[in-house]
Symmetry: D2
Subunit: 265 residues, 4 copies
């Protein structure tokens, strides 16, 4: 099975990139299942119902989230009824709407998806390592092909999670830093690993936001309203091939397409 | 001028990688100047006099540091007398030993080097943006070719610095996260930029440390002694070409060599 | 000289407490100068022109601020023209409106006021210790009586500042945690010290905000809109006596009045 | 029932204060049960078997801990066999030695003790609010008199916990900041509350450590070895009276004794 994962989609610039590039991605990578991180899809802050619908229409099969899950309050109205949206699983049971893992079936292919959030340099949450253990031991009774989006800041926590799940997940992909890492590899147990998929959004901002405001904030400390930058786009992600008989990844390659280079191609 | 920058060297595994690969790097990239980050060279914590000497002997021309600068107390004995060692410049003037920027001359080529440290998710220090302004306005009176190693955790702060210095530095390279990023580019003003050069050290640890201890620490919270992992190595860095007439970068390429692939080559 | 300092005034509940209690405070403590921290005076977030005017009308002579200085954007319109408002001094020179220290004269009494902000668990700023050194060496050429409001989170940083300034300031008072500490004392060099003056605002909230929202946020992690609690008030502060010939404090006592006990008295 | 709680005992200076003052405390407050926080008892870092024994010999009936629980590795040898030592309860089940709550019986009086740790500005742990709910619903089946030591940094988190447990615990006392707060009160549901009990240790250090080293570290950022200060002592704590029929607190008073004033008395 081939799976494409698309990193944090930021604002309309990021959504436009997804819309334009998905046909090309389908053609080039021939993925059976496409998953995208949507925590910044609505103007950089959360996601809403219309955008969710659009992403599914364009060909995304599942949407993972992160620390910005609740930024747009509209999500509370539909997350419980949208089985293809997955928010971090290590949030309080009972009080957190939505689901932290699910299985997505496309034709004859089925992929389990887990979303977890890190704790280093991020707000408190339940232990992602122990939560991963619980979820994977349940999922692995039925599934061999499992993707984990570990939404985290610190490279130490992400790499530790990759090794912790090696042999139990097919693909552990990091999100949140909005910068793709150049460390794609397949760990000895068969888990494809990438510390961060990178961002899909404005190429010339800072994490997708207007760079002047962000720089001014760093220098002056004065309050700034951050808006999504209106620049050319970049699309970032990865394609992984999974042996369905074993759940082991056999290939991982990063996807990094920038508006200029793509037009040229 | 061609410059090779080598990311955080971790322990003896990282030093061995540097020693073995430098001849190959010199041959392949033909660099005029080689700079390396050495903040983890001594068993993962700081650097000492013997290791410093070795790195220079093998062909490194300048060593930048970071938040681990002072981990090995031996550095206090020699840093003031070692003009080729550069520690973060945005530390308190008056009380901080060593220098935060310098110029390194190799044959007819001269490169100014600046080391700065971020403040997001790191201990307090002076503002790296304003400090960069001060240093660059001084350096640019004499130098066109300037490399800035911005040792920082947050991608937002690093990207903001890249844009802040675009047109004023030849190369802004991030260090500290120990994971190479896949976002090498030349910004419109002529500054080569890479969010993180990545680590040169044990490939199968967590940031170079034994992964079992790190994972156990994340899961149990109990105290752990972290030691440099004894695994195969990875060497990470970048090569940049600078037009000496203007100081503008004309090319940037990442370097990522792993023990297995190198032996194969 | 007798000085009364009033801790962080929170919202209309806190302002009401100040208005009602100031006559009683003047009567009981006979202060020559009254200083209050106003960073939360406008609905918990910053301050505005009308509230500033009111506080001065009621008898406050100077207003210090903190990390919430800029929360209400109206402040940018008047801070440069209001010499009795003091925001943290260790903010970037050049780009920060307002002033970080001043002298306030009431009748024949003159008190220099300095506002500084901590860096532990707070956003980056310039070093408050070195900034204090600079300001005090300037102020002490003209002034003996000096009050420093050190707006900081960590007890370690606040106590360190108290000792650092012992013998150079008349009174080092902490603000920001909204809980009065029971450690008022006069240090050996003659500096009155109190780790935190405490809050002047709703007694039964959490730091002055509605407690249900805050507790829900801690438990669920879901977004919450925090509003100032509508409960009975508490007024917190301290009274210090300073020997004007030497600048040394001779007495410090905490002020803690709660709506119930005050009505009773 | 009368309960005395003694705040974080720091090093030999703190232990000496406990030894000397316990007879006076017993005489003055007539407590049935004495609990002390011991996380800094061994040279400021953790506790060991000999010190634990001593504290019990002198009359302490139970010892609570905090983020420094494991600093002295000796604790791993005896914590499982010492039922009167209580470490934070919201640590991972299964992998954490010791217990997070217990009941201590002295004569005919029985007090349940819970130790919890905050998450704001502290390392990740399980949610202390939900953990408190679980433990209290168990304890309250058998116990009316319950003391909770909430070891936390942020005043917001501590006050929120006080209100969260109001009516379910007899006494919620904060520890960790080493500065006693002046906000002792009985909440409407009958829970005695104090944000921080304060430190029992060297009066003239910074949180009990030598102040010169701490100040130098704040100013220079250079590494410092912190040692317990050799100064006069302060003992900090609180005495609470609990109605055993209901578990409601009827009185709370802070205890703050300093070597000078005590000798004088
Ligand atoms: Fe994101
Ligand atoms: Fe995120
Ligand atoms: Fe490093
Ligand atoms: Fe580092
Ligand atoms: Fe405040
Ligand atoms: Fe504040
Ligand atoms: Fe402590
Ligand atoms: Fe503590």
């Amino acid at each position: 099975m081939k799976v494409v994962f698309i990193g944090d989609i930021v604002g309309s610039v990021g959504r436009d990139a997804v819309k334009r590039l998905l046909p090309w991605i389908k053609d080039k990578y021939q993925p059976h299942i496409i998953i995208a991180n949507g925590e910044n899809a609505a103007a950089g802050r959360g996601i809403n119902a219309a955008i969710t619908r659009e992403l599914f229409e364009w060909g995304v099969h599942g949407i993972t989230m992160g620390n910005h899950t609740w930024d747009n309050r509209e999500i509370f109205e539909f997350i419980d009824d949208e089985p293809r949206m997955i928010r971090p699983a290590n949030l309080p049971e009972g009080s957190t709407p939505g689901r932290g893992y699910t299985a997505i079936k496309v034709g004859s292919k089925e992929l389990a998806i887990v979303n977890l959030m890190g704790r280093t340099f991020l707000p408190p949450s339940d232990c992602p390592f122990r939560k991963a253990d619980d979820i994977l031991s349940e999922l692995r009774q039925k599934h061999k092909c499992i993707l984990v989006d570990f939404h985290a800041e610190a490279t130490s926590e992400k790499i530790a999670m990759g090794w912790h799940l090696d042999g139990r997940a097919s693909f552990v992909v990091g999100t949140h830093t909005h910068v793709q890492t150049n460390d794609d590899r397949i760990l000895p147990g068969g888990t494809a690993y990438l510390t961060d998929a990178g961002m899909t959004g404005p190429r010339d901002g800072v994490l997708g936001m207007e760079r002047e405001s962000v720089i001014r904030k760093f220098i002056t400390g004065l309050p700034s309203r951050f808006q999504v930058a209106e620049t050319k786009w970049i699309l970032s992600g990865a394609c992984v091939e999974i042996d369905e008989a074993t759940g082991r990844a056999t290939k991982i390659q990063t996807i990094r397409v920038d508006e200029d280079s793509w037009i040229a191609s």
